[in-house]
């Protein structure tokens, strides 16, 4: 580690005089080339790997709320999803900032996740299980990761990133996905019932293992707020996501301490 740091002197300009003598890297050009290779390999691998882990995490915690168009309700999906997704977002937002001063952790993780989840939905839900792709397409979260990373770049403070970025991370989920949800919330009259396109597709495309009553739709005791359900849920989700962000930045700070890193390398 020390030889490498010596090779890229104090002001950031390469110092050829202190280059390692017994190394595969013999000059600055080769050093730069080797470092470029680090970028070429590390970033895609990181994104795919962390994205895959996040696919796993979201499957375990959000699960059906994100699998099906007829599960994205106003109350649970916009609460459970950001609360869960902020965990890897906070860790990698922290890690890339702390180690590289790069405000890219959340976006890179979510890009990897989106790639993985599209492959998963397409292969498993569409090709294998034969559901129409529109009914099982994932929600998009990329805008949420960008807001978190941009806030960090602008504020350079985890406190402010939590307060503004993590809060926005949660509350934009619903409007961000309304573009692809609205078509499925168009009302349909079916045998004297008012249903949405999503409800009707959920009924017609048979899921033997998912009887109607297992959908956790709008289950809550706080029904008195009437029309204000969506903004109220969003505000509440913003608040808990903010707290969860702080928690996982703190955990991330323990997980990404130098001693782990040096031990790994």
């Amino acid at each position: 580690m020390s030889t490498v740091s010596g090779a890229y002197g104090k002001g950031g300009t390469p110092d050829t005089t202190t280059r390692p003598t017994k190394s595969a890297v013999r000059n600055v050009q080769e050093q730069m080339a080797a470092w470029k290779n680090v970028d070429y390999t590390l970033i895609p691998i990181f994104s795919i790997l962390i994205g895959g882990v996040t696919v796993f995490l979201i499957a375990l915690t959000v699960g059906d709320w994100d699998y099906w168009a007829d599960w994205r309700d106003r109350r649970w999906w916009p609460l459970v999803t950001p609360f869960s997704l902020i965990i890897p977002a906070a860790i990698f937002n922290y890690f890339f900032w702390k180690r590289f001063r790069l405000p890219i952790g959340a976006t890179a993780m979510i890009l990897g996740y989106m790639f993985g989840v599209w492959v998963s939905r397409y292969m498993n839900f569409h090709i294998f299980a034969n559901f129409p792709m529109n009914f099982v397409s994932p929600s998009t979260f990329i805008g949420m990761g960008l807001l978190l990373d941009c806030t960090l770049a602008l504020s350079r403070s985890f406190f402010l990133t939590g307060l503004v970025g993590a809060f926005l991370f949660a509350i934009v989920l619903y409007p961000l996905n309304w573009v692809t949800m609205a078509p499925f919330h168009v009302p349909v009259e079916y045998n004297g019932f008012l249903v949405t396109v999503a409800d009707l597709m959920g009924y017609q495309y048979i899921r033997t293992a998912m009887p109607e009553y297992v959908r956790i739709i709008e289950r809550s005791t706080l029904r008195t707020f009437g029309e204000a359900v969506t903004p109220l849920t969003a505000f509440f989700a913003g608040f808990v996501t903010l707290l969860n962000y702080y928690l996982w930045v703190w955990i991330g700070s323990i997980l990404t301490q130098n001693r782990w890193l040096t031990r790994l390398i």
């Binding site: 490498v4 970028d39 498993n124 919330h185 017609q204």
Partner: protein, 418 residues
């Protein structure tokens, strides 16, 4: 070093496995393989739902053609105490592997079953589920009552063969706004361009930070060197670009939201709730049955029930069928019922009734014997190993004109080993 590598490969393997499980995890259809019902506890199968008059027609269709799944069921009065009752929350379901069929309509006693409902113990219900074939294949179709907290109660099945090509499948939904949509592809282009747009914006953000390589190693070193002053690595152009991205992202989100509201001005929220369905009117009870003793003789695979029967009907009656856990034991001296196909659970000669018909007004003690290898095949014998070893079954009497009188019987079952 070698062990280190092994550990690393090991954890990579575990991770890969975990990811694989995530990918295939959500598919757990109990009806994917035929006769998942065999796996259920015998007492659950016997004492939950009595299915009868099951019919699935036609058995051979092309893509786009429809199939009716019809029949009747009666929730058992001996419903097990240790599982949630069908009187709380239940859903009329269909057991097929995935959306090979579309459920166009489903009714119980004429009431549409898009919602969950509840059924009453000991009452009779009549169902009719209309399916439209979507994917070619051969399917074992079961009517299913899903009971909240108790799981699927699977009814008798028949094989249906679907011919043709899924590419020819056609289906439309007419919305209340007057649009006729094709649910197979509906809004897919919107989903694709919206997702693609965000991928582009996300990648553009990464491209800004990686516009001049190498980045990772030099920045790592500089952050180490600068320590508390590392924030100076974020330059003024970085700040400007971050502010632009922040504003642009907010703008795109707001723009998308208003665009969607403009495109789809009339929307509703996901619907849920319950419907109520009245049971069929109960016919007056013409045949009364009281079980005296029920024994299962293990060596002979013979289930025998001694009971006292009172005939209040105007004509002589005889036991024609004993229906337990979806298996129909038939008294072949009275009825000619044969298995329609290999997996049709009919024991055509499985019910032995030695007594003569019971005359009008007569009360008599009779014994019936349900003997068939199906007891073993369908693991009903495991009843003797269960904590609450009681049985329940549907007994069908017929008079000399073919009128059917049904009576549910049940009670403790005593095994006999000799």
């Amino acid at each position: 070093m070698k062990t280190m590598k092994h550990i690393r490969y090991g954890s990579w393997g575990a991770l890969a496995l975990a990811m694989l499980l995530t990918l295939v995890g959500p598919f757990y259809s109990p009806a994917a393989e035929a006769h998942g019902e065999r796996a259920q506890q015998a007492s659950l199968r016997m004492r939950t739902m009595h299915w009868f008059d099951t019919e699935i027609q036609p058995r051979k269709v092309a893509v786009n053609e429809t199939v009716h799944v019809t029949g009747r069921f009666m929730p058992s009065q001996w419903w097990p105490e240790h599982i949630r009752s069908v009187e709380e929350s239940a859903f009329m379901n269909i057991g097929v592997p995935g959306p090979a069929f579309l459920r166009i309509d489903s009714r119980v006693n004429g009431v549409p079953m898009i919602r969950s409902t509840r059924f009453h113990l000991g009452k009779t219900y009549e169902y009719d589920v209309l399916l439209k074939a979507r994917a070619p294949g051969r399917y074992h179709i079961h009517p299913v009552i899903s009971v909240e907290g108790a799981g699927p109660i699977i009814g008798p099945a028949f094989w249906v063969e679907v011919t043709g090509d899924q590419k020819d499948f056609k289906h439309t939904i007419t919305t209340m706004t007057g649009n006729v949509i094709n649910p197979e592809t509906y809004a897919m282009s919107t989903i694709l361009w919206w997702n693609a747009l965000w991928f582009v914006i996300g990648i553009a953000w990464l491209a800004w930070w990686f516009r001049k390589l190498p980045v990772i190693m030099p920045r790592y070193i500089k952050v180490e060197e600068l320590g508390d002053d590392a924030n100076q690595l974020i330059t003024i152009p970085d700040m400007i670009v971050s502010a632009l991205f922040f504003g642009f992202v907010m703008l795109v989100i707001a723009g998308g939201y208003f665009w969607a509201n403009y495109q789809y001005p009339i929307t509703s929220v996901l619907q849920t709730g319950k419907v109520e369905v009245e049971p069929l009117p109960q016919p007056p009870q013409m045949v009364e049955v009281e079980v005296n003793k029920a024994t299962y003789r293990i060596p002979g695979r013979s289930f025998q029930v001694e009971m006292t029967v009172t005939n209040r009907s105007p004509r002589p009656v005889q036991v024609g069928e004993f229906n337990a856990a979806n298996i129909r034991f038939i008294n072949n001296k009275l009825l000619n019922v044969k298995a329609q196909e290999k997996d049709d659970l009919v024991a055509a000669t499985g019910l032995r009734v030695d007594n003569p018909p019971i005359q009008p007004g007569e009360t008599r003690t009779i014994t019936i014997y349900a003997d068939d290898a199906l007891w073993e095949t369908y693991r009903l014998t495991s009843l003797i190993n269960e904590p609450d070893g009681r049985f329940a079954a549907l007994l069908m009497f017929f008079d000399d004109q073919g009128t059917r009188y049904m009576q549910e019987i049940g009670g403790p079952m005593i095994p006999s080993f000799g």
